[in-house]
Symmetry: C2
Subunit: 353 residues, 2 copies
Amino acid sequence: MSNPYWSPCIRGLEPYVPGEQPRRRDLVKLNTNENPYPPSPQVLAAVRAAADESLRLYPPPEADEFKAAIATYHGIEASQVFVGNGSDEVLAHVFHALLNHGRPVLFPDITYSFYPVYCRLYGIPWREIPLTSDYCIAVADYQGTNGGIVLANPNAPTGCALPLTAIEELLVAHRDTVVVIDEAYVDFGAQSAIPLVRQYPNLLVVQTLSKSRALAGLRLGFAVGDAGLIGALDTVKNSFNSYPLDRLAIAGGIAAFADDAYFQARRSQVMASREALVTALVRLGFEVLPSAANFLFARHRERAGAELFEALRRDGVLVRHFKHPRIDRFLRITVGTETQNARLIAALESLLR
Amino acid sequence: MSNPYWSPCIRGLEPYVPGEQPRRRDLVKLNTNENPYPPSPQVLAAVRAAADESLRLYPPPEADEFKAAIATYHGIEASQVFVGNGSDEVLAHVFHALLNHGRPVLFPDITYSFYPVYCRLYGIPWREIPLTSDYCIAVADYQGTNGGIVLANPNAPTGCALPLTAIEELLVAHRDTVVVIDEAYVDFGAQSAIPLVRQYPNLLVVQTLSKSRALAGLRLGFAVGDAGLIGALDTVKNSFNSYPLDRLAIAGGIAAFADDAYFQARRSQVMASREALVTALVRLGFEVLPSAANFLFARHRERAGAELFEALRRDGVLVRHFKHPRIDRFLRITVGTETQNARLIAALESLLR
């Protein structure tokens, strides 16, 4: 599909394919790990209030108030914060600015499938380290010369989390390269590595407001790390797009960190629903990997993943299935509201009867 | 300021420096070419209406409805439209996807200063073609092997516009490379090259909603070209960030193209104010380049640009001054409201007395 006008370096790219965003509103949508609950009412109010005449003006290019809100929340300095248009944009800049050393970047064979896409985009070599037989990350397997290490914690699509001690082991063993911990799902039950940032100048933690703060539609992500690493991200960002966050996103992001009570209540609710969903799925004959995220990774002991995915879709329940050989028996199921989860279970009950 | 963790390829980057976004609200802000009038009330209403519970969901990754609105407005196909987070992001993807051929990209020596920044970011060689002695682009000067040509039309910061015949000459002379026409300011009096897109598979036109549609704070830009070129941009975008436009920006963008009466009235108003401002500046001893944009590029016959810039700033009027040797006598002055322009003129009158 390319033509001679395309830059040679992009001709072989295989873009990331995001989960489907169906137009049908009646689907039970459990396929892209969105929060089943709405954002905080304070966020919606802040966004509406920001939708005024000032939209004619550029946003503050450094989104300083948003950075300050994140820094205050996490007890760090604003100079240790980088913000971007979703954590996907943040990660893109991370690969470009910090992981392009001509040496292979290491990440698990089963993880967020955007990582190899970024590598191809910037011409970075990579090496996939197999998960263990029980689908966990073993940090001792991350060895040898590398251009950086990228781990999702909890990992996606498995949901398995690493303890901070394991991450610290990695930081000590690889002091010369950057270790990126992608904490997109951390608020649903894993330990954040942000407290380690002060101690390790090679640690970069990436988070998003898309999942635990229910703002996938507002595009807000951030990275936390030593100011030396943040400077690299600023340099690339300011050579790419001065204002990736619009005025409304900035207003919403600030409000999201202000309403902590809402955040805590909703993430507890999702975690409680997850445990109930695990019980129901196990009862139906699924093996469910231990999850510290807002999704479950589960395989049925008899029925194939692709088959269940298609059958659920016909029944109006959308989950995600990956055609990767090692995990093609699994379904990735976002934890929904109680009602959504009940519809999923009812659909599975009738399919498996 | 870099450290060993930085990717070698980014260590020499010199980021773009956007115009200042001061916190002081009492400044007469004529420094970043924002529209002096607010966005359409229909845009604000659409954005507020979109600030609902659906923000928990990812945006449609291809922003299809926004693309359709642009296509309908310009009488083209949606497959000829690419959208992005402001035209700066669109341009970044253009340099990466279409201009990286190992041959120098050509652009004027005096133009949007982000172009060489993109070249450095992606390791693209470039060659600057001097403007003529009266600060115009002469398309006949764009000759020889190249990896693409980028022209702002009207040019920035000069404001001078090229006729479509000149652009067509360029398209014919360089059929093997992509010609990018950056039309950030086109709605203030220049001719858009969009009607040429059907005929020339090497033409890419880039526009923004930041200026003529008064939406700098919402981050919306787009490119129009043959589907073959758009495919390259999609490939890079989908290898970088699946959802650069949030749900509110998409809603606002669609509404902006729907309210054409407002758009026409406001851009006429800005153009009329521009002409009045030219007259007043000439009366004060300025030479003003002919402008088809929402700004003027003007030098005083006696007083230095840097001096006037500083003096105006002390008086609460912010304009822009570039320390580039060839243009350092000039000020770039955004056309404001009648009141803002009157304050500028009053400040200049007292400075020049």
